[in-house]
């Protein structure tokens, strides 16, 4: 029991200060909220206001002065003659893709997570690292790989692999919803693997044992014990995937165009390209609103199932299910997933970097010159990627910017998680929880443009950061915060107050508790919260080109420039290097910290 608050104004303030020093959770929460209002809510409002204001040059359509309030863009998207083509059909398609991909990723990722975390699958440790690789490649590589195999005559050009073998590939298999779902699902299932796997590993199997001793049946145990315990991590994964799909552009566009399969992000892209910013803002708003609805459903579910603490101060035990005669089939299944999600896309991409002329399978056509050659006949880039200085300076730049952003992001995410869980039930908690997820829903280009406005001049105490290294880091931290804050929240939910209270009783201050107790226990979550932003930051493009003013070459901009020069082999080699860099960083992080994504699943 704290002592009776002293009387008098000064005494009360002093008391509150003292409390804040020992229990600054609320204070930190309020500070975070203020920062987020400026860095997240303000840019989103600016995007939102674009949907209701007449843009310059649009007075011919609206009959209003530029800047006036208007419902024209809403009318055009929702009610006009073309609204079904422009919005409603793409909207339905988007929902189909988002639901399909999420289910696909849940099934694949959930099965893999269980096999790795709770069974004696051979090579568990290896799989836990290897399977995550599919998230390290840009999602369009899966579309590319898909077309290489399933492409049919409808598209012209080189024959697909199956067609070359004489197999007739139907359109539904080659283009449209089905391949999009599979390609995106194979790209995003590592989310489930990571988050769900982490939670599974940390679940105390004594809980299952107790239930079994009390005579509960397997199904009851699954329904009443395992599922509720796993729910936070599952909903986190579902949310991350579902929301990402809403705005994903590359894959649905590549696989959808041949059969006119349009999604919201294609409409968005077309509007931005054609300088129809009002329509683009309306569609972006719909993405944000759908995302918010999903967040609300998510927090509703979490409220129904009360939180359960899986990491207490008591000892825990985890025991693996023996697969026995299912061991080999399970291994086969894991290998199949690995092949489909990692080997094939990487293989297709790698093959494209060692052929002089793409698609010609003759020995003379194969070469390593795009990797290590020194006399390429290209003017602007005469050396293979591995022997040119440009690659290494781009790598260093990427590493600096993205690495710094990822570390900030991880720490911030853990703090958000801590505050959200410790102040649970308050308005502050749910506000932080929801705001920290919003950046995920805003299309990168719109966010970056809003940042440009926000930081181009000094506003109050905030200096003009536009064009500096700092703003790139800030926008990457904010853009990737959803990963870290979700990881932080779901990990903190499983950590009871007891360990911290024990320390507090023995006189440890807040800082000491954070650094000596919370952070070490949450090391796995922290590493996940750093690595996921790192991987996604390495692949980031639109925010970088919008906000960097000098030609600070990052790996992604290097790759895009190479495509533009027509050096596709070199460009794809750089993409492979991005994936390799993400992989090496992940691997080193887990080696150095001794816990992590992979052994985060492993124990």
């Amino acid at each position: 029991m704290p002592p009776e608050p002293p009387r008098g104004r000064f005494g009360r303030t002093k008391y509150h200060l003292a409390v804040a020093r020992h229990e600054p959770t609320k204070l930190i929460g309020v500070l975070l909220a203020i920062v987020f209002l400026y860095l997240i809510v303000a840019p989103i409002l600016s995007v939102a206001s674009d949907a209701f204001r007449v843009h310059f040059g649009d007075h011919v359509h609206t009959g209003q002065e530029p800047g006036a309030w208007t419902g024209y863009y809403l009318w055009r998207v929702f009610r006009s003659d073309v609204s079904s083509i422009l919005f409603w059909q793409p909207f339905l398609n988007t929902i189909v893709i988002a639901v399909g991909t999420t289910l696909f990723a849940l099934v694949v990722g959930g099965a893999m997570a269980w096999l790795i975390a709770r069974t004696d699958l051979p090579g568990r440790k290896w799989f836990s690292t290897a399977l995550v690789v599919s998230y390290m490649m840009p999602s369009w590589t899966f579309a590319l790989a898909w077309l290489t195999i399933f492409k049919n005559r409808r598209m012209g050009g080189r024959q697909g692999f199956l067609e070359a073998m004489g197999v007739q590939v139907p359109d539904w298999l080659a283009y449209g919803a089905f391949p999009t779902i599979v390609a995106l699902g194979l790209h995003y299932y590592p989310f489930v693997l990571l988050l769900f796997g982490n939670a599974l590993r940390r679940m105390d199997s004594q809980l299952e044992d107790s239930a079994r001793v009390l005579g509960a049946r397997r199904r009851t145990i699954a329904q009443r014990i395992v599922l509720p315990l796993m729910l936070p991590s599952l909903t986190s994964a579902v949310l991350l995937i579902f929301a990402k799909i809403l705005g994903t552009f590359g894959t649905p566009y590549i696989l959808g165009l041949p059969v006119d399969f349009q999604v919201m992000s294609t409409s968005l892209f077309q509007s931005i390209r054609n300088r129809q910013n009002g329509v683009a803002a309306v569609i972006a708003l719909v993405v944000i609103v759908v995302g918010i609805l999903v967040i609300l459903v998510d927090s509703k579910i979490l409220k129904e199932y009360r939180r359960f603490v899986t990491v207490g101060s008591k000892g825990s035990m985890d025991r693996r299910t023996k697969l026995r005669r299912w061991r080999m089939p399970a291994l086969g299944l894991a290998m199949t997933v690995f092949t489909a999600s990692v080997i094939i896309p990487i293989g297709v991409l790698f093959l494209s970097t060692i052929q002089r002329i793409p698609g010609r399978f003759e020995l003379s056509n194969f070469t390593l010159r795009y990797w290590i050659g020194t006399d390429l006949d290209s003017v602007a880039f005469p050396r293979g990627v591995l022997v040119s200085g440009e690659l290494y300076s781009a790598m260093w730049n990427s590493f600096r910017v993205v690495g710094l952003a990822a570390v900030c992001c991880g720490v911030l995410g853990l703090l958000v998680g801590y505050v959200v869980v410790r102040t649970s039930g308050t308005r502050l908690s749910s506000m932080l929880r929801q705001i920290s997820f919003l950046p995920y829903l805003v299309p990168g280009i719109a966010f970056a443009a809003a940042y440009l406005s926000l930081f181009a001049v000094q506003r109050g105490p905030v200096p003009a950061l536009y064009g500096t290294f700092t703003i790139l880091v800030i926008v990457m931290v904010i853009g990737n915060l959803p990963y870290s804050s979700r990881a932080g929240i779901s990990a903190m939910m499983q950590l009871g107050r007891e360990p911290e209270e024990a320390a507090q009783v023995s006189g440890a201050g807040w800082w000491r508790r954070m650094t000596r107790i919370v952070t070490p226990i949450q090391k796995g979550a922290l590493v996940t919260g750093i690595i996921l932003p790192f991987i996604s930051g390495l692949k980031e493009l639109s925010t970088v080109i919008m906000l960097a003013t000098s030609n600070t070459e990052l790996l992604t901009t290097l790759s895009v420039n190479l495509v533009d020069f027509g050096y596709l082999q070199l460009a794809n080699a750089v993409v492979l290097i991005i994936a390799a860099m993400a992989f090496v960083a992940t691997y080193l992080a887990q080696r150095l910290t001794g816990s992590s994504l992979a052994s985060g699943l492993q124990g």
């Binding site: 303000a42 409002l45 600016s46 939102a48 206001s49 674009d50 007449v54 310059f56 040059g57 011919v60 002065e65 530029p66 800047g67 006036a68 003659d81 073309v82 083509i85 422009l86 005559r153 409808r154 598209m155 012209g156 050009g157 080189r158 024959q159 566009y253 165009l257 041949p258 006119d260 892209f269 077309q270 931005i272 390209r273 054609n274 300088r275 910013n277 002329i357 793409p358 003017v379 602007a380 443009a449 809003a450 440009l452 406005s453 926000l454 181009a456 001049v457 003009a464 536009y466 064009g467 080109i545 919008m546 003013t549 000098s550 030609n551 895009v560 420039n561 533009d564 020069f565 027509g566």
Partner: protein
């Protein structure tokens, strides 16, 4: 006990509703002052627009040496363009004039967005921009005072009058294309054939998704304004009877029939070139693609050929404007770069890709594999005079396409 709980619950709900309402109001208020790409409504916006429209005046007392000296004092210039060739141009500019130059590749919509926001904030980094979305330059960037037109006086008399406001630096030809491995000559010789399922089957003609960029819609508008007669003539040549249509123009009728004939669309011009030109095909489609794609014949072993006898045109040339930022801190360096881009040495990296300089004294490149320059008289060119119609019709054109594509 139960009732009290319910009651307190209800009052909580009411409070929550009140908070939500208050939040909604706050959000609206904040939105009103949030930074945005839309301008505030001002009474003089329209005046400004009229003032800017006549901005294409030529500097009479121009001296290149003075400009170079002034530019050197400013020290640096940053240039944006939609092609990576800008890096090469900037490097060569720097070598020529000893002025630090940075070339950055950015999509034209991104350039416009970036310049607008930089200008609003008064923190300008882009000094010069080459923008392929010409209507957005005259309808958004100029009237908003974001960018301005500057014509190097020594080329003012050379460049055709239809390319001065805004100043066009190059035009980018797109050409009708066929697969030379399967066909000896282009399978059809008339654009109307592309719309006829008996002559070109659905999927037999491929080009970049016209909704994915403004180029095609602008081309269609230009064609409806300036190409009606030729299109009607070609129709009569093919079918032996005059075109009868209820649409606004022959171009509209052509677009409608084209959309209905189910052409194959791709994400990029590059993919279109693969569909047409990849070797080893039995029934390759025809296509429409940028002249730069013809270098794939050498680089990737493609078999692309230009449909030389296509009537009434073998393709169209999309203009690209060059402008300087109004708020630039190095106006002389910016002008010098614009001057440089109008010379043969300056624009060479782009001309080598089959682009055509708007300065008729710049020779065609021998490296251009499409030979677009030799066919310039059979290419459809845009007229700047109708650039605002392009802008106004863009959305309608896209909708027209969307509706008939079904």
């Amino acid at each position: 006990m139960y009732h009290t709980h319910r009651a307190s619950r209800r009052s909580l709900d009411q409070r929550r509703a009140a908070i939500m309402a208050a939040t909604a109001v706050a959000v609206l208020l904040a939105a009103a002052c949030a930074p945005s790409s839309t301008p505030q409504a001002t009474a003089d916006a329209q005046d400004e627009q009229e003032e800017q429209a006549g901005a294409a005046e030529v500097d009479e007392d121009f001296d290149l040496d003075e400009l170079i000296a002034a530019a050197r004092e400013e020290g640096s210039v940053t240039v944006y363009d939609g092609t990576g060739k800008i890096e090469q141009m900037a490097a060569e500019f720097q070598a020529t004039y000893d002025i630090d130059a940075t070339g950055i590749k950015l999509d034209s919509s991104e350039i416009a967005e970036k310049m607008t926001r930089e200008a609003e904030a008064g923190n300008v980094t882009a000094d010069v921009a080459l923008i392929s979305d010409v209507p957005s330059v005259s309808e958004q960037l100029f009237p908003q005072g974001v960018a301005e037109n500057w014509i190097p006086p020594d080329v003012a008399d050379l460049v055709p009058g239809s390319m001065l406001d805004p100043l066009i630096v190059i035009t980018d030809p797109s050409l009708y294309t066929y697969n030379t491995e399967v066909h000896d000559t282009c399978p059809v010789g008339n654009v109307w054939a592309l719309t006829d399922p008996e002559l070109v089957e659905p999927g037999g003609f491929v080009f970049q998704d016209p909704l994915g960029q403004p180029d095609y819609a602008d081309w269609w508008t230009e064609m409806s304004l300036h190409g009606d007669e030729q299109l009607r003539q070609s129709y009569e040549d093919l079918y032996g009877e005059p075109l009868e249509t209820e649409e606004d123009s022959a171009a509209h009728e052509w677009i409608k029939r084209l959309a209905q004939n189910g052409p194959l669309l791709t994400k990029s011009s590059e993919e279109a070139s693969e569909a047409v030109g990849a070797p080893g095909q039995s029934d390759p489609p025809m296509g429409l693609m940028s002249s730069a794609k013809f270098r794939n014949n050498d680089d990737k072993g493609y078999v692309l050929g230009v449909c030389e006898d296509m009537a009434p045109w073998v393709g169209f040339a999309k203009p690209k404007a060059i402008v300087m930022a109004s708020g630039t801190s190095s106006p002389n360096a910016a002008k010098l770069f614009i001057h440089y881009a109008m010379t043969a040495e300056g624009i060479k990296p782009q001309v080598d890709d089959g682009k055509l300089s708007s300065n008729p004294e710049v020779p065609a490149s021998e490296e251009d594999p499409s030979g677009a320059a030799e066919r310039a008289d059979k290419i459809f060119f845009f007229d700047n005079a109708t650039v605002s119609e392009n802008w106004a019709n863009r959305q309608a054109m896209h909708d027209f396409w969307r509706v008939h594509r079904r």
